[in-house]
């Protein structure tokens, strides 16, 4: 039985081609984990904004600063990507768009639309 336990497994994720649906799915997961990690700072900001006029001002100032805005944009992208791919998964769950070609298209669509959303928000912020 020795040779059985030593059997190699081919699972080189750099060699296995991930279809676009898989890319969107893993992005959904990664952004999800990041968004969870962002929960404490978000709650902290909410608390600060409500505490007093001074803390509110500083919160707005932090968010309005250049690094603040950049960070906000990244977070926004994560959020909308997670949101759109989430909507896509919801639709797939109820049997909408599960054909191979439509699923590919909708995967691309989430990527495109989240970038477009990001641009719109970016424009609105400036």
């Amino acid at each position: 039985m020795e040779h059985i336990s030593k059997r190699p497994v081919y699972l080189n994720l750099f060699k296995i081609r991930l279809p676009i649906g898989g890319v969107v799915s893993i992005l959904h997961r990664v952004t999800g984990v990041f968004l969870v990690l962002l929960l404490p700072p978000a709650i902290y900001l909410l608390q600060q904004s409500l505490q007093s006029a001074a803390t509110f001002e500083s919160t707005v100032r932090i968010l309005g600063s250049l690094p603040g805005r950049a960070l906000l944009l990244i977070v926004t992208w994560m959020f909308v990507q997670h949101l759109y791919s989430g909507i896509r998964h919801l639709l797939l769950d109820v049997d909408i768009g599960v054909e191979r070609t439509t699923a590919r298209r909708s995967a691309w669509l989430t990527l495109v639309v989240s970038v477009v959303t990001l641009l719109l928000i970016g424009l609105w912020m400036t």
Binding site: R7, V9, R17, G22, D95
Partner: protein, 233 residues
């Protein structure tokens, strides 16, 4: 001009670890499909092992990972492949030798869905009647050839092959749930309702991407979920 190949090799009797070996075939060797090429390569080097049987895409023996994508060698045209053509075993399963993987876990998951018709009515003397529409609902389900392309391209199956049934087995679970003659719906749904067996599917849809018979396990899984939801309401 030659066609270049790079093939995953591992013989447990000689090799510590797997390696990629290069082969070449002449352009005019007559190989149309990848399987033809593999058979010619085996004539050069008889130590190369792979499974094959029908050579026309109905038996499901020769599923391998071709340029990073799972597929049947016998219906993959060579001319569509980027060179060197990289051929590796199906991902995520223990390699017995070269392109031959151990699929016992895959088959065990298939058996786990009780893939047989259950009907406890007294046996009639004629066929159990089924309307053409009821029969149509089995199309796209019963054609599965158990090649394992789908399940071995599914990340959820990579991470939990012992607990997640995988797309192939779930497609068969739905094939019997969808059969108007089957009466074990409740029992089958009970067996699926745990955090792993069915719900590890995250609609990644790699299965649909690679299925050589163009079946749609994701749709089958959605339909099982829908049935579960409906039952719980």
């Amino acid at each position: 001009m030659t066609i270049r190949f790079s093939i995953y090799r591992y013989n447990p009797e000689n090799d510590r670890r797997p390696y990629m070996q290069s082969y070449e075939l002449q352009n005019d060797c007559g190989a149309v499909m990848l399987l033809d090429a593999l058979l010619l390569i085996k004539q050069q080097d008889d130590s190369l092992s792979f499974r094959r049987s029908c050579r026309e895409g109905v038996c499901g023996s020769d599923a391998v990972n071709i340029n990073g994508r799972n597929g049947l060698a016998c219906i993959t045209p060579l001319k569509d492949l980027k060179q060197p053509v990289e051929v590796r075993p199906l991902p995520g399963r223990p390699v017995i030798r070269d392109l031959v993987v151990d699929l016992s876990q895959f088959y065990a998951q298939y058996r786990a869905v009780k893939p047989w018709l259950i009907n406890n009515d007294p046996v009639p003397e004629i066929e159990r009647l089924q309307s053409p529409a009821e029969r149509d609902s089995l199309d796209g389900l019963y054609e599965c050839i158990l090649c394992a392309c789908c399940s071995t391209s599914c990340p959820s199956f990579w991470w939990n092959p012992d607990r997640f049934l995988g797309p192939a087995a779930l497609l068969q679970a739905w094939r019997f749930l969808a059969d108007s003659r089957d009466q074990a719906t409740g029992e089958r749904l009970d067996d699926l309702e745990d955090p792993y067996r069915l719900f590890r599917c995250h609609t990644i849809m790699n299965c649909v991407e690679v299925c050589p018979k163009e079946l749609n396990p994701t749709r089958a899984i959605s339909q099982i979920k829908e049935m579960l939801v409906r039952r719980s309401l």
